[in-house]
């Protein structure tokens, strides 16, 4: 019984994202035009809910924006013109994919730059053999004449002794 309930619940949760925000009465008659509207809507942020596109959002303003997109399309705008129309009013912020320009340079260039930096650093650490760390290696001073004499003497007694 419990298992059945869990199953029913998960089925319900899985089916939820399939529900469309775009209502039948909003859709355009021309399927090709409708597809263009859907493509544009997927790239526009819903300004009320912010992390959804207007294509996914159930907010009233998202609906009005969807209708506006369709209205512009039927009036003969191309996809870029429709996008620009919305950007002129809401700024680059409405684009879910931020454009590449001076103000977004850090955003686009930052991650690859950091990845390169990390790779370079990792490579250097990996390549350096353990013994070749100058700061760690004990400083070796050559034996003095007296020490050498003593060493030779010790070695000799060892040989004759065995």
């Amino acid at each position: 019984m419990k298992r059945l309930a869990v199953l029913a619940l998960s089925a319900l949760m899985l089916s939820a994202p399939l529900a469309l925000a775009v209502q039948p009465d909003e859709m355009l008659k021309d399927p090709q035009m409708e597809q263009r509207a859907r493509d544009i809507s997927k790239h526009l942020r819903c300004v009320v809910c912010q992390n959804e596109s207007i294509d996914e959002s159930n907010a009233d303003l998202a609906r009005d924006l969807r209708l506006l997109v369709r209205d512009r399309l039927t009036k003969g705008d191309n996809n870029d013109q429709v996008m620009q129309y919305i950007v002129d009013r809401y700024g680059d912020y409405v684009l879910l994919r931020p454009p590449f320009k001076m103000t977004t340079l850090a955003l686009w260039a930052g991650p690859p730059l950091f990845a390169l930096l990390a790779l370079g650093l990792g490579w250097r650490l990996y390549r350096r053999p353990a013994g070749a760390r100058p700061d760690d290696a004990p400083t070796a001073t050559p034996l003095s004449a007296e020490e050498r004499k003593r060493l030779e003497k010790l070695l000799r007694t060892e040989e004759s002794g065995s």
Binding site: V47, L61, D64, L65, L67, R89, Y90, D135
Partner: protein, 179 residues
Amino acid sequence: MRKLIFIAPTVMFVVLVGLFAAQLLSGRDPKTIPSVLINRPVPDFALEELPGRGMPLRSSDLKGEVSLVNIFGSWCVACAIEHPFLMQLKQQKAIPIHGIDWREKNPMDGLRWLQKNGDPYTRVGLDPDSKVAIDFGVTGAPETFVVDKNGVIRYKHIGPVTAEVWEQTLKPLVEELRK
């Protein structure tokens, strides 16, 4: 050189904490979207009046003196919060306030709401399908725009206009624009 690698995580942590603290303490709401319409003329529009109220709102009405344009709706909870203060501004004759009655299901709803709570507006236009709201880059209600004598948008406030917002931000700007 090697010691540097060991203190680097600590340094990074401190820098991050600093960044987060600065963001948190700045009081900036990351949800507010900067308006691209600042210092641009108000969009061209002509809205219908509320049924029987007269005094509809057109873009040409926004020229001549500094005014506020307030986006509201009878369905909007936060609008009811700022409403008493707008009434106060009207009583003080502080500044003409024009309303855009946004997304009413029934054109009478906004009118009834104003009759019940008081009407702080000089002119009110009805915008049921967000046509003008979208031209103003509205993201929610209430929003309030400061429009100068030449009909140029100079500031946008998102959320209720409170006494604090008026005294600290809007009033100084309005006085500056009147000069």
